[in-house]
């Protein structure tokens, strides 16, 4: 069976200033996988997602979503940024942030109404944050803020989700709650791409993995390519993870 390709990246090269931080990346992500992007700090994981989403302009290369240019397919894609990328002291509430997920489908000028509010409340419910809907966002814990960002992406009701370290700073219970949501998304046929730092949990959580360190080291099913060889190539030191299957 030939799987459909959800995201295709061709010859992507990205640089801040002059030094390229991503070199000539080719990547095909099949539809319906739950994929981890792993690599050391500064490997360019966030940069890769930002370049795919058009936040950064690459020096070279192209990105297509279901065989069309990304710009035409925006509505199919949702994004969970790294939590530290915004100022949480911004004067707004949890519900309001989640509502932002509906802005894309609303387009310019049109205001969110009852329908959008209902969708946002449902998403809050899904991540277990409904009791905090009116909370000022600076008064949420790090893990709660992370869940708000997740809810905002869920509201977008996309086909492909890009998440930059959604497990950063969350406790074990929240981590399980989040991974269950991600697995549910996959079950619904969505493609989920997650920057992930905890190598121990990769085999348990994900079925697809991409090793990245400036260049793409490897990409494929976890069971085939998640091994010490690729880990060593990516992290530079002799890596030994005990992989339980």
């Amino acid at each position: 069976m030939k799987q459909k390709i959800a995201v295709k990246v061709d010859d992507l090269t990205v640089a801040y200033n002059y030094k390229p931080v991503l070199w000539d990346i080719d990547l095909e992500i099949p539809e319906g996988v739950l994929m981890a992007i792993v690599g050391p700090n500064g490997a360019g994981k966030s940069t890769l997602i930002k370049a795919i989403l058009g936040i950064l302009k690459p020096i070279a290369g192209s990105v297509s979503i279901y065989e069309k240019p990304y710009e035409k397919q925006r509505s199919l894609v949702a994004y969970v940024p790294q939590k530290g990328s915004v100022d949480w002291d911004f004067p707004t509430t949890a519900l309001d942030v989640v509502m932002m997920g509906t802005y894309g489908s609303l387009g310019w000028i049109k205001r969110p109404g009852q329908k959008e509010k209902k969708a946002a409340l449902e998403a809050l419910e899904k991540v277990g944050m409904l009791p905090f809907k009116s909370r000022q966002i600076s008064q949420l814990s790090g893990g709660q803020q992370q869940r708000i960002f997740l809810a905002r992406a869920l509201v977008q009701d996309a086909s492909i989700y890009f998440m930059d370290e959604p497990f950063q700073g969350v406790d074990a219970t929240t981590e399980i709650a989040i991974i269950n949501i991600l697995k549910e998304l996959r079950k619904a046929g969505k493609t989920v791409i997650v920057v992930h730092h905890d190598l121990q949990t990769v085999p348990e959580y994900f079925d697809w993995v991409t090793f990245l360190n400036v260049k793409k080291i490897a990409t494929g099913p976890v069971k085939d390519i998640f091994n010490d060889d690729n880990l060593t190539k990516t992290y530079g030191i002799n890596y030994k993870v005990s992989i339980q299957e």
């Binding site: 936040i55 925006r74 915004v86 100022d87 004067p91 707004t92 932002m100 802005y103 310019w108």
Partner: protein, 375 residues
């Protein structure tokens, strides 16, 4: 004229009314737009724009020879916008920090502007005398048409703000995310910045180049202290700005020789200081009070918990113990003991104390709570 006289005259006296209305509108529009500058942490932006406007005024004068304020402000607008877009350009092209770029443009334009002003001052035709009013502002020169212009710009600004409210909000909170949703963040950014430039230029005649940025920042910074909602913040900033304008004008015209611009800015600063101290949720005063109250509660709880430990070892929880035992315990003071007596948790009898049933229950509850939180 004293303050009372001012307020009785403000409705009848044409000049006074014009100036008051002008400064109020100016305060409102700069306060409103200032919220955006404050939330984007671009505190230098106002300074950079107002200073960048100066050479425009001088050049407009050199070209037209006119002192008519609209012509000069048009010059200010052009050079203000030019400066602003250079700043944007520098930030995106060179990766200098935005503060550096702002500072650079600020000093470059201001230096050039001052140079031109000195040059104009040396010219034989005496027509130039009025130009330095743009440095510190001169509200007294406001005429009705100036106020109309301010009102129109403010109305336009309000309209655009309401129209693109959601776009502005998402740009302020999370620009990258806004981009992924398909919003052209550059357009939103330029729209907002252009309005800030426009508002600043309109204020130059009244408040002047040097102090203009305070009009942008002070009302917004004060407003932020009182609310956790963006719309309320913008509204409050407009109100604070307008009041600063009115009070500033009132004070300066009742004290004959005070120039209006600096007084308005001072009034706005009073709003800021007051807000930073007295705001219930973010103010220093209440934070300190909460801190002290928390610490006192904690001391009491610790003492009570210690007593509970001792009382627990006896069958009768109200078995009396000597106060001396407590001296081994850190954080114990006579005052906390007295507080516990007041709350009927403890009874004293000479040098002996004993827990009451109420105190025992309270203390065992503390333990349960603690255990729950630790889980």
């Amino acid at each position: 004229m004293d303050l009372q006289e001012y307020f009785s005259l403000v409705f009848s006296d044409y000049t006074l009314r014009t100036i008051t209305l002008g400064t109020a509108i100016l305060g409102a529009v700069t306060g409103m737009l200032g919220s955006f500058a404050v939330l984007r942490k671009q505190s230098l932006l106002g300074d950079a724009i107002s200073h960048a406007a100066l050479p425009g005024i001088a050049i407009a004068f050199l070209i037209t020879g006119a002192k008519d304020s609209n012509t000069l402000l048009l010059g200010a607008l052009v050079s203000g916008l030019l400066g602003t877009f250079w700043i944007r350009g520098i930030i995106t092209k060179t990766h200098l920090k935005s503060d550096t770029a702002l500072g650079l443009i600020l000093s470059l334009f201001f230096g050039f502007g001052m140079l031109l002003l000195t040059f104009i001052q040396k010219q034989p035709n005496a027509n130039q005398a009025g130009l330095d009013k743009y440095l510190f502002g001169q509200a007294a020169t406001l005429v009705e048409s100036d106020v109309w212009l301010m009102a129109i710009v403010t109305g336009l600004c309000l309209f655009v703000l309401l129209l693109f409210w959601k776009e502005f909000k998402i740009l302020l909170f999370d620009k990258d995310y806004a981009k992924t949703l398909g919003f052209n963040t550059k357009t939103i950014d330029i729209l907002i910045t252009s309005f800030i430039v426009l508002a600043i230029v309109l204020g130059l005649q009244t408040v002047g180049v040097v102090l203009m940025s305070a009009m942008l920042l002070a009302p917004a910074a004060a407003a932020r202290q009182w609310t956790n909602s963006l719309s309320k913040m913008v509204f409050l900033a407009a109100v604070f700005g307008a009041f600063s304008g009115v009070f500033g004008t009132a004070i300066s015209s009742s004290q004959n020789n005070l120039s209006t611009g600096p007084v308005i800015v001072l009034v706005a600063s009073v709003f800021v200081i007051f807000s930073f101290i007295f705001s219930p949720s973010r103010g220093l005063l209440f934070r300190q009070i909460r801190f002290i109250a928390n610490r006192r509660d904690l001391e009491q709880q610790k003492t009570l918990a210690f007593m509970y430990h001792i009382a627990e070892t006896h069958d009768n929880i109200s078995h009396p113990h000597t106060i001396k035992i407590l001296n081994n315990f850190q954080g114990f003071t006579r005052k906390t003991l007295q507080k516990l007596v007041d709350k009927e948790y403890v009874v004293l009898d000479g040098t002996m104390w004993s827990l009451t049933q109420k105190g025992f229950d309270k203390a065992s509850n503390l333990y349960n709570q603690q255990a729950k939180e630790d889980e």
